[in-house]
Symmetry: C3
Subunit: 464 residues, 3 copies
C-alpha cells in the first residue's frame, strides 16, 4: 500500500503540474473576464449556482457511501476507511481523466472549477458502488487498482454516452450506477471465493453497526436531490430535478417498508432493506431528473424501483450467490444495477415522449440541448440515443469488470484469506475490545474465579 | 403495515396525478416566464434563495429527529426507522393537504416548488414531535394513522393561523411545536398504559446510544437557524432570522449545562438535558425569528426557555406521569410544548410592540405583510392576532389528539404489549448481539466451564 | 459550573444589550439601504454569498470537533458535550470581542451579520483545538476559563495580524490553528500530570468509539473547503479557496494511508492517523487558500503536511510526553501546530512570489487588498508581513498559554484526580452499561453461579 500510495501521490503532483489550471471563474482574472463578458455581479460565478449542491454530493460520497458500508460487525474501519482512501485517490485521477476528455482547453491545459469537482465526485461514486460488491474480500491495494481502472473506464464511457451519443444523464443512472454496479459485480464474479463461508460468522451486523449504517443511508437519502440536480441546468433544471428526486425517494421509503414487512416471517422489518432499497428511487431518477416526468411520474418511478430492489434482496442475492457465483456483499445489484437500468429505460421513454406542447419550444431545446451538432434531433430520436447509452454503460461495466477482475486475480495484491474476510484485524490496528476487558475485570467473574479457587483448595484438602 | 403502506403509495400516485404540477419556476417554461416578468437572471429563481435552507431542514427532519430518538438502549431501529417511514409518508400527504389549502391555482392544480418542499417538511415535523411522546409504545401502523390525521389537522390549523388570522410564524413555534406537542401529549394521555413499568428495564439508555442521540441533537441545534429562516422574507428577513436563532440557541446551551449541574446530586450533568433542553431556544424563537427582537432579546429568549425546559425534565415529567397519567417518552412537553408556548407569547409581545421608528415605514409593512386585506392593521392589533394563533394551535392539538387518540385506542392496530414496549424485537429482525456471542465463546468463560466440569467430576469421585 | 455558566449568561445579555445591533443587511431598513446604494436584488445581501459556507463551518465546529473527540472509550460524553458547551459560550463572547476590535460602528455599537457569525465560529475553533490537548484532564469550569481567555487572546492577535500587519489568513493557518495549538500545548505543559498513567486503561479507544470519531473526521474533511473559503473574497476568491483546499485534502488522505502503513508492524493502518493526519492539508492550506498557489501547489502542500503530521503521531507525541512533559491527548501538535506553521510559511512564500503576470493587475490588488493604507505595498513585502503574522500567532499561543495555564493550575477548579482522568463518571450521569447488565443476567453466568452453589453445598456435605 505504501509504495502504491506514495507513488500515486507523486505522479499526481507531476500530472497536475503539467495539465491542471484554474478556469476563468476561479482565476484572479475573473474580474477581467466579468468585464469582457459584461457580467454584472459576482453571483453569476458558477460557484454560487453549484457549491451548495457540491457540498451535499461530497457528503454523500464520503459519509453516505462510507457509513452505509459500516454495517458489518467487524469491518466498519474497512468500510468507512477504505471508502475514504479510494474516494480521495479517485477524485484526483478523475479530475485528470475527465479533464482530458471534456475540459481540455486550446492551450492543452485542463481548466477546473466547481463543476469539475462535482464530476470528479460523481466519477468516484461509480468505483465506490463497485467496492460495495467486494466489501470485505479485497485488499486496499486491490481497491486502488479497481479505482484506477474504474475511473479510466468511467471517463471513456461517459465521453461516449454524454458527448458522442449526446444522451442526458445528470444524476448518472446509466453512467454512474449501471456502469459501477456491473463493473463491481463482474469483478466479484471473477474473484469468486468458494470457501467464503469460512468467515460466515463475520458477515452479519450487530445492533450498533446497523445504527451506524443508518447514518450513511439517511445522508444519501436526504442529499440525493442535490446529487441529481448538481450539474443540471441553471434555473428550472436544477429546481425540477430536486422535486422529482425528492418525490421518488419519498415513494421508495413507503414501498420498501411495505415489501420488507411482507417478506419476513411475523411481518418483521429487515434493516438491510431499509438501509438500501429506500434509496432505489434516487438511483432510478438519475437520468430523467431534469425531464418533465411530472410529480406523479416520479412517485411511480420510486414505487416500482424500490419494489424490485427489495425483492432483489430477498430472492435475487441468494440466487446469484448460489447459482451465478456472484458474491455481492452490499447487494449492489439490487440498489444500483436494477434501479440504474430502470432509470436508463425511464429516461429513454420520457425523452422519446417529450413534446413542444409540454416543454414549450425553447424549453425542449434547452432541456435536451438540441443545439449545434444535434440541432435537428427530435425527441423520438433522442429516446433511441438514451437507450443506446444504457447499453454502452452495461457493456463497459461487464467488459471492464472482466478485465480488471482478471488483473485483480493475480496473486500479488495481498488479498485476505477466506477465513479472514470481513475482518478489520487484517489491515487495521484494532483496539482491544471493551467487552473482553470488562469480562476479565468484571466483579462477577472475579467472584466466580475466587469461589472456584477456594473450592479447588477445599476439594484438594477434602480429597487428601 | 404492508397493506396500509402499499395502499397509501397507490393513493398518492393517483392524487398526485390528478392534482400536482410543477410551478412556473420548476417548469421548462420558466424561460418564458422570465421573459414575461422581465427577470434578468436564473438566480432570481426561488430555488437559489431557499435550497440551502431546505437541505438543512431536510437533515433536521430525518437525521435530527431520527437520531434524537435513538437514545433508548433497544429502540434505536424504531427511533430512526419509524421516523424515516412516517416522515417520508407525511411529506407526500402534506404536499397535497397544504397544496389544497395554500397553493391551489386557478386551474385546480397544486403548483409545487422548493417552498412547498420546505413546508411539507415543516408539516411533518409536527407529527414527529408527537411521535416523541409515544416512542416505543405504538406500532408503525398507529404511527401512520397518527401522521395521516396529524398532517390533515396541521394543514387546517396552519390555514387558520397564517391565512385567516394573518399571524406570522416562520419557524412554527405555534403552528409546528405547540400543536405537535399537545397533539402527541393528548394521544399519549388517551393511550395511557398503567403497567408500563413492566418494560422499565428498557426505558433507559446505554453509553453508545446516548452518543448516537447527540448526532440528532447537534444537527438539530446547528441547522435550527435554517429552520427558522427557510421561508422567511428574502434578504434581511432570512438574514435576521438566522442571527436571532443562532443567539437564542447559544444562550440555551450555557443555561442548560448550568441548570443540569445544579439539579443532580454531586453536580453531575444529565445527558437527557443536554440532548434536549439545549434546543429550547430554537423552538422559542420560531415565531419572532424575523422580528426586530434585537440580539440581546434573542439571548433572553434562549435563556428563559431552556431554564423552563430543563426544570421541566427534572420536575414536570415525573409529575405528569404520576399525576396526570401522561407518559411522555422523549419529554416533548419540556422541549416543544412549553418553549413553543413561550415562542408564541414572545411573538405576540414583540409584534405588539413593533414600531415604525424601529422597523422603518417600509420595513414594518414588509415584515408583517400589512398589505391588501390587512393593509390597515397596526402592530398592536397584530399582537392580538398572534395570541389568538397560539390558542388555535393549542386547541387543535388537544382536540385533535383526543380524537386521534380515541381512534388509536381501538384494538386493531397491533400495538405492543406493556412488557414489550421499547423493544425493537417486536417489529424488527434484530441481529444477535456481539456481547452474547462473545460471552459464550469467551476463553475465560470456557475456562470457568472447564474448571467447573473437572470439579464436578472430582467431587463426584470424592463423594462416591 | 452552575454559578459560572449562569453568571456568564446574564453578563452576556447585558453586554449584548449595550453593544450589539443588527447590521444594515440584517435590519428591516435593508430595503432603504438597497435603494440608497442602488442594489438591484436581495441576492446581493451578503447572506446569500456566505450562508451555505457558514452552515458548513458550524457543522465542523460542533459535529466535526465534537465527534473527533469521542474516540476515547469512556470520555465520549465529555468529548462531544464539553465541546458543545465551550463552543456555544465562546461564540457569544467572540461576537463581543471581535466586534470591539473589528466591527465597532461610529455609534459605538457592534453591527452583526452573517460574516460575524462565521468569525465567531472561527474564533471558537482556536479554543476547541486547545481543548484537544487537555481532553479528559480538565474540568468543565477550567474549559470555560480556557475559552474566556482564549477568545480574548484570539481577538487581539487576530487584530494585530489581520488589521495592523495586514496579513491575509482566510482559513486561519496562523490565526486559528497555530495560535490555538500552541495555546493548548502550553496549558497542557503547565498542567503536566506526572502520575497520569494511573488512568492509562482509559486512554485508548474501543471499536465503536473509533467509528464515532470518524464522523468527526469526515465532516471536518468534507467541509474544510467551506472553512477556508467562508470569508474569502466574493467570486473567484471563494471559488479558488475551495479548489485549493479540496486538492490539498485529497492529497493528505493518500499520503496518510501510505505513511501509516509503513509505520506499523505488519503494515497495518492506525485509526489515530486516519482520523487526524488526513486533515493536515486543510490546516496547511488556510493562509494561502485564496492565493494563486496552483492546483499542483495545493497537492504538494497536502502531501508534505500530512507526511509531517503522521510522523508526528508516530515519533513526536511519545517524545513530547516523555521528554518535554507535554501530554497532548489528541495530538494537536501534529494536526494543528505543525501544519499550521507550514500553512503560515506557505502563505508567506506564495505571497512573496505573487506577480502581476500571474494575478493580473487588478487581481493582485484585489487578492491582497493593496488599497488605502497599504496601496503601495508590494508582494515581496507582503510576504514579510505574512511571516511576521506567523510569529505573532506563535507568541500569543505560548505566552497566553503560560498565563492561562498558571491560572488553571490554581486548586479551585475541580479538576479530576489522576486516576479519574478520561472518565465521564466524574462529570456525567453515565448509564449503567448494557454489558454489565447482560453479564449479570446472562444465562451462562446464572448457570455458572448455580453450579457453584450446588458444588458448594455438595462440598460442605461431603466434607462434613
Amino acid at each position: 500500500l505504501q509504495n502504491f500510495s506514495s507513488g500515486k501521490s507523486i505522479a499526481m503532483i507531476i500530472l497536475f503540474g503539467v495539465f491542471v489550471r484554474y478556469n476563468e471563474e476561479s482565476d484572479t482574472r475573473w474580474i477581467e473576464h466579468r468585464r469582457r463578458k459584461n457580467i454584472s455581479t459576482n453571483l453569476e460565478n458558477d460557484f454560487y449556482y453549484r457549491y451548495p449542491s457540491f457540498q451535499d454530493v461530497h457528503v454523500m460520497i464520503f459519509v453516505g457511501f462510507g457509513f452505509l458500508m459500516t454495517f458489518l460487525k467487524r469491518y466498519s474501519f474497512g468500510g468507512v476507511g477504505f471508502n475514504f482512501l479510494i474516494a480521495a485517490f479517485g477524485i484526483q485521477w478523475a479530475l485528470l481523466m475527465q479533464g482530458w476528455f471534456h475540459y481540455l482547453d486550446d492551450d492543452g491545459k485542463i481548466k477546473i472549477g466547481v463543476e469539475n469537482l462535482i464530476n470528479a465526485d460523481f466519477c468516484v461514486a461509480g468505483c465506490l458502488i463497485a467496492y460495495g460488491a467486494c466489501l470485505g474480500k479485497v485488499s486496499p491495494v486491490q481497491l486502488m487498482v479497481l479505482t484506477l481502472f474504474g475511473v479510466t473506464l468511467f471517463a471513456v464511457e461517459e465521453y461516449i454516452i454524454l458527448e458522442l451519443l449526446h444522451a442526458k444523464d445528470p444524476g448518472g443512472s446509466m453512467v454512474i450506477h449501471t456502469f459501477g454496479a456491473y463493473y463491481g459485480l463482474t469483478i466479484s464474479w471473477v474473484l469468486y471465493r468458494p470457501m467464503l463461508s469460512q468467515s460466515k460468522h463475520l458477515q452479519g451486523s450487530v445492533y450498533h453497526s446497523d445504527v451506524f449504517a443508518m447514518i450513511g443511508t439517511l445522508f444519501l437519502w436526504m442529499y440525493w436531490p442535490s446529487f441529481n440536480s448538481a450539474i443540471a441546468d441553471h434555473g428550472d433544471g436544477q429546481h425540477r430535478a430536486v422535486i422529482n428526486t425528492y418525490l421518488a425517494l419519498a415513494a421508495s421509503v413507503l414501498t420498501t417498508f411495505a415489501i420488507s414487512s411482507i417478506s419476513q416471517k411475523h411481518g418483521k422489518l429487515d434493516m438491510v432493506h431499509i438501509q438500501n432499497a429506500t434509496l432505489a428511487g434516487g438511483v432510478a431518477m438519475g437520468t430523467a431528473s431534469e425531464f418533465m416526468i411530472t410529480p406523479y411520474g416520479s412517485l411511480i418511478v420510486g414505487f416500482c424501483s424500490s419494489i424490485i430492489s427489495t425483492f432483489g434482496y430477498i430472492f435475487l442475492t441468494p440466487f446469484m450467490e448460489k447459482t451465478l457465483k456472484i458474491q455481492d456483499t452490499c447487494g449492489i445489484h439490487n440498489l444500483h444495477a436494477m434501479p440504474g437500468v430502470i432509470g436508463g429505460i425511464v429516461g429513454a421513454i420520457t425523452a422519446a415522449s417529450a413534446s413542444e406542447s409540454v416543454y414549450g419550444q425553447e424549453g425542449l431545446i434547452n432541456t435536451f440541448d438540441f443545439k449545434e451538432a444535434v440541432a435537428n434531433r427530435t425527441a423520438n430520436i433522442q429516446g433511441g440515443y438514451q437507450a443506446a447509452g444504457l447499453f454502452v454503460a452495461i457493456a463497459f461495466g461487464l467488459v471492464g469488470g472482466a478485465l480488471v477482475g482478471g488483473i485483480l486475480k493475480l496473486p500479488i495484491w495481498g488479498d485476505p484469506a477466506d477465513a479472514n474476510c470481513f475482518d478489520d484485524e487484517v489491515y487495521w490496528e484494532v483496539p482491544e475490545d471493551e467487552d473482553e476487558n470488562m469480562l476479565s475485570s468484571h466483579p462477577n467473574m472475579n467472584h466466580a474465579r475466587g469461589i472456584l479457587k477456594s473450592l479447588d483448595i477445599k476439594l484438594k484438602s477434602s480429597c487428601s
